[in-house]
Subunit: 257 residues, 2 copies
């Protein structure tokens, strides 16, 4: 029952898009999947058709007020896909957590009550290495790192790997990197191919770089406004196929780790 | 002497790209410009050819250790363009600032020593509404909001405007919104045009939406790997022209506010 953080502090690299659509592709294969929205922006919540201001029991109340996670799990438009949403209180959590000694373990403890119900738990992280992302890494078995094949994305990778090893040493020794996923991929540009080669060389023998890449396609940017994953919005599209192939790779890498 | 925050908590919308290239376009017109890198990722610092691990006096030492800002101002490859860089200590600042009662005003106080040397100060913000972005808004005369014409970007706009009005009420009453800038603009997609129309309607009579948009072009993603702004990397490109036109609009809106 792998718990997977979808994390990268670089902004706008497709964390939310990867979390939603990988969760959906896994659900399509009959896996029972919980998606946790741990980003104060609440984009995963909105992209699955929920209205953040109408969610009264969310990840905030679970972490900060001790509500049972079970009561914050909602079914979504897709069978087998469930959401633990964010609401408008979550932006306040980071500051409120500073004084709590157990602050890094709150999510891990909260999810204990729901582990047995799901085959996969995916956690969408905010674009930062703050306490919310630390909670996610501490609660997870592995990390999936979405990244764009662009120069500035390389910069952030070393910072992220440094943070992951700090969490491994102090909070969660069994945490692994499941893999790096190329997103918004445009194979026509030289820049993309150069960065991709650099990343594949860098990780050779150290961590998986998924074979499948997610192509840049406006369909992925449109789906959130309809409140559905790509597999329902444009089921026969390249993007849906890419996430279905990714789901196979993820099943393989999580079941052999 | 306007101080401008380049801010939006939504990740990857082109904050750093806008900050660097607007600063460069203003410098090209003979304005003396200081770019402050307030993002722990340090992308503005890297994109101007600096190595973060070799910067010993940075915005971190200025904010946290009381170093004189003057000693952290570095010339760049372009005349009239100066950088106050970030280094690898900056990721620690957010947590370290929680206990300081004056934490929101540190940047405002630090910049007092350098105001008189520059015609413009631009501040590149991280993808969050945490204490670093609050420092930037408190130290600024106005905010420039880069945004993608995409659905998820709309979500974030209301959160950002809410934070700006909290800063106006409590920390900086004279703060204005200089304007919203469309980035990575692709006029061929229906989604882009729909979101653009929605934003222009929403802001009519309330705030400027810049006429000029920044087109999506790989040249902008390539320039950082060469450590130079677009105006030096590809001076005759559409992207350079777009930032030159933007500079004219910004001069106009800052000098009439
Ligand atoms: N493959 C793709 N093709 C086209 N657009 C995409 C693709 N993936 C994501 N997008 C769009 O790009 C924007 C950024 O993606 P997304 O919000 O998933 O990134 P993120 O890493 O979660 O951002 P943040 O750092 O703000 O949390 C969104 O508008 C999304 O719809
Ligand atoms: N107009 C554009 N066309 C093509 N690529 C662009 C454009 N603007 C920015 N980029 C690229 O998109 C990525 C995101 O841009 P950038 O880093 O400037 O955004 P940001 O808002 O500063 O991100 P963060 O939230 O992480 O600070 C970068 O790789 C950048 O090079
Ligand atoms: Mg996201
Ligand atoms: Mg940036």
């Amino acid at each position: 029952m792998p718990v997977i953080s979808i994390a990268n502090q670089k902004g706008g690299v497709g964390k939310t898009t990867s979390a939603i659509n990988l969760a959906s592709a896994l659900a399509e294969r009959g896996k029972k999947v919980l998606l946790v929205d741990l980003d104060p922006q609440g984009n995963a919540t909105t992209s699955l058709g929920f209205n953040r201001s109408e969610v009264f029991i969310s990840i905030y109340e679970v972490l900060m007020e001790g509500m049972d996670a079970e009561s914050a799990v909602f079914p979504t438009i897709q069978d087998n896909l469930f959401l633990l949403p964010a609401n408008e209180n979550l932006p306040g959590a980071e500051v409120q957590l500073t004084d709590r000694p157990d602050r890094a373990y709150l999510l891990k403890h909260a999810l204990i009550n729901v582990y047995s119900r799901f085959d996969y738990i995916l956690i969408d992280c905010p674009p930062s290495l703050g306490i919310l992302t630390i909670n996610s890494l501490t609660a997870s078995d592995g990390v999936l790192v979405p990244m764009q094949a662009e120069f500035l994305a390389l910069e952030g990778l070393t910072q992220l790997l440094k943070t992951i090893s700090i969490v491994q040493e102090n909070l969660n020794p069994s945490l692994v990197v499941y893999g790096v996923l190329f997103t918004m991929y445009d194979g026509r540009t030289r820049l993309t191919r150069e960065v991709e080669n650099e990343v594949r060389d860098y990780f050779k023998g150290r961590a998986v770089v998924f074979e499948n890449v997610i192509p840049r396609t406006v369909r992925l940017a449109e789906a959130p406004s309809h409140g559905v994953p790509i597999t329902l919005y444009a089921s026969k599209s390249n993007a849906s196929e890419a996430f279905r192939n990714l789901a196979l790779e993820v099943i393989n890498v999580t079941e052999t780790s």
